[in-house]
């Protein structure tokens, strides 16, 4: 992957997280501890600060380094989870990925790492509500359909609203977690959209 593409990905994800940090924190205040926006901002600030070094690396290594940067700067639940996602994606990524299949496989490996780290699965009102269907959609797609990706992410996010959380801080709320979007699902959807933006050349 071109260093410029990596930089564009870093720039766009950073922009999107900054623009929505307050929204993420608000969502987390409702059913968590009110720091998700702050956490994501800290992590993507750190990635942006290391952008030059990351962009020099081959795609897989770049993902690993970005993941490790998240792990070492975010903390909380989202740090190890997004960190594991990117690190596992990086490990599974061929040196020169040349098909949607390559990316789908790597993403699948990342999502599995999230599940392993979080001891979680779909239906527990977490970021996995977005990540899992996106992984499936990528795997099933012959060609990359950005519109479908976006819709899949949005639908996954929307589905968290009526769920009862059984993992993460929101699970302590029991029934009272119902009726709120999950903050981690929202950040996952935002990140998917940010990547789509770059692919579409926005």
């Amino acid at each position: 992957m071109e260093p410029e593409t990596i930089k564009a990905l870093i720039r766009r994800t950073h922009e999107v997280i900054l623009a929505h940090a307050e929204e993420l924190t608000d969502l987390d205040q409702a059913i968590g501890d009110g720091d998700h926006g702050i956490n994501m901002k800290r992590g993507f600030d750190a990635i942006a600060a290391a952008a030059d070094a990351i962009a020099e690396l081959p795609c897989g290594k770049a993902l690993e380094k970005a993941g490790m940067t998240l792990v070492m700067s975010v903390g909380g639940a989202s740090g190890p989870l997004y960190g594991s996602l990117l690190m596992a994606m990086g490990k599974a990524m061929p040196e020169a990925p040349d098909s949607v299949g390559d990316i789908a496989k790597a993403f699948q490996a990342g999502v599995e790492a999230v599940m392993k780290r979080g001891k979680s699965e779909g239906g527990e009102k977490t970021m996995l509500e977005v990540l899992l269907p996106v992984a499936t959609s990528l795997k099933d797609a012959g060609a990359l359909d950005i519109g479908v990706l976006r819709k899949t992410a949005d639908a996954g996010l929307a589905s968290t609203k009526d769920m009862k959380a059984t993992k993460g801080r929101a699970s302590f709320l029991g029934e009272r977690s119902i009726g709120h979007l999950d903050p981690g699902a929202r950040s996952s959807a935002l990140l998917i959209h940010a990547v789509c933006d770059v692919i579409e050349g926005k």
Binding site: T25, Q29, I31, G32, D33, G34, D35, I38, N39, R42, V71, M72, S73, V74, G75, G76, A77, S78, G79, P80, L81, G83, R117, G118, A165, T166, K167, G168, R169, S171, F172, L173, G174, R176
Partner: protein, 334 residues
């Protein structure tokens, strides 16, 4: 938001710097990455105890670093678990050949970050390591179907008792087993009169009306069991102690350690009043109050409110509780 701070971005660093300077006889602060360790280092052959987690719960955990308690604490950002590099560096700094025991409050973030640190430490070192997960908060019901209970003020008691055992020469397996027994013997229930405000969020985590309380609140302002109308201290303490004793809590005849803990914005005068209520209620249940602790030990920023912890204690635990401790927040016998 009204806070004694400069900018929201520097709260942790400036507060930690002040803490380190005010207690330079007891601790030293490492900055990159951040951890607090005993000024004198860990004695060779002693099991090293490390705790940590989000800040905003002061004096937890850095205030418990010192002789007879922790060897190191890793403060994360406000309400955000610390990162694995902190724990890794702390473990390297304090491992004195007898292994490292991580004391971790049961939150997914804390658990995952400590797990990653433990994995990394395991890859790099021959030394033994173990983890005690604390989960004393009885407010979370149905804990089997969720993340489980949260670790709250009972963690202080685990750290004190295991700290004394480690100081007395207990090995890693013994420390871990003891920590798990203390945790299992502890139950805590909290209540909030007001929300806390995370500095970077700039506004209260939740809203409570003038006549409402949050029963079973978490120490990060997580909503609790239910929102209730303001209650008198006696009724409040009765509900809290009932919740603690209900499942597997102390029974008539049991000696207990009673901790009435302030959430950060509650004056001592009120805490002693709650202690008075709790004490009467414990005695009515036939519990023997073997030891007491009243004050701010596991806080939630500026939240007004308190928690009550009961730990069933036997002679062994009492001996360790009474053993000398010399930290910023707990000190006796030295």
């Amino acid at each position: 938001m009204k806070k004694l701070i400069n900018s929201v971005d520097n709260v942790l660093n400036e507060s930690l710097r002040g803490f380190g300077a005010a207690h330079s006889d007891i601790v030293s602060v490492n900055w990159e990455p951040k951890f607090v360790q005993r000024a004198g280092g860990t004695a060779k052959g002693k099991v090293a105890l490390i705790s940590g987690g989000g800040s905003g719960h002061e004096p937890l955990h850095a205030g418990f670093v010192g002789q007879g308690m922790l060897d190191a604490a890793c403060p994360g950002e406000v309400f955000t678990s610390s990162t694995p590099d902190q724990m890794l560096a702390a473990a390297q700094a304090v491992d004195a050949g007898a292994g490292v025991l991580f004391i971790v409050k049961n939150y997914s973030g804390d658990v995952m970050n400590f797990e990653m640190a433990a994995e990394m430490y395991g890859e790099m070192h021959e030394g033994e390591q173990a983890t005690v997960l604390t989960n004393d908060d009885v407010a979370v019901e149905d804990s089997l179907f969720t993340q489980g209970r949260r670790g709250v003020a009972g963690t202080v008691i685990v750290e004190k008792i295991v700290g004394a055992a480690a100081e007395a020469g207990a090995d890693l397996a013994t420390c871990k087993a003891l920590g798990e027994r203390v945790n299992a013997a502890s139950g805590t229930m909290g209540v909030a009169l007001t929300s806390c405000t995370v500095p970077a969020a700039g506004k209260p985590t939740f809203e409570l009306a003038e006549d409402e309380m949050e029963m079973g609140v978490g120490i990060h302002g997580e909503p609790g069991r239910r929102r209730v109308k303001l209650m008198e201290a006696d009724a409040l303490a009765a509900e809290m102690i009932e919740a603690i004793c209900k499942e597997d809590g102390p029974r008539s005849g049991d000696p207990v350690l009673l901790l009435v803990n302030g959430m950060g914005g509650t004056p001592l005068m009120e805490l002693y009043l709650v202690y008075d209520a709790a004490r009467r209620l414990c005695e009515e249940r036939g519990l023997t109050i073997a030891r007491s602790l009243v004050g701010d030990y596991c806080t939630s920023l500026d939240m007004a409110g308190c928690s009550i912890t009961l730990t069933k204690v036997g002679d062994e635990m009492l001996g360790y509780w009474d053993a000398p401790v010399h930290t910023a927040a707990l000190r006796w016998g030295v």
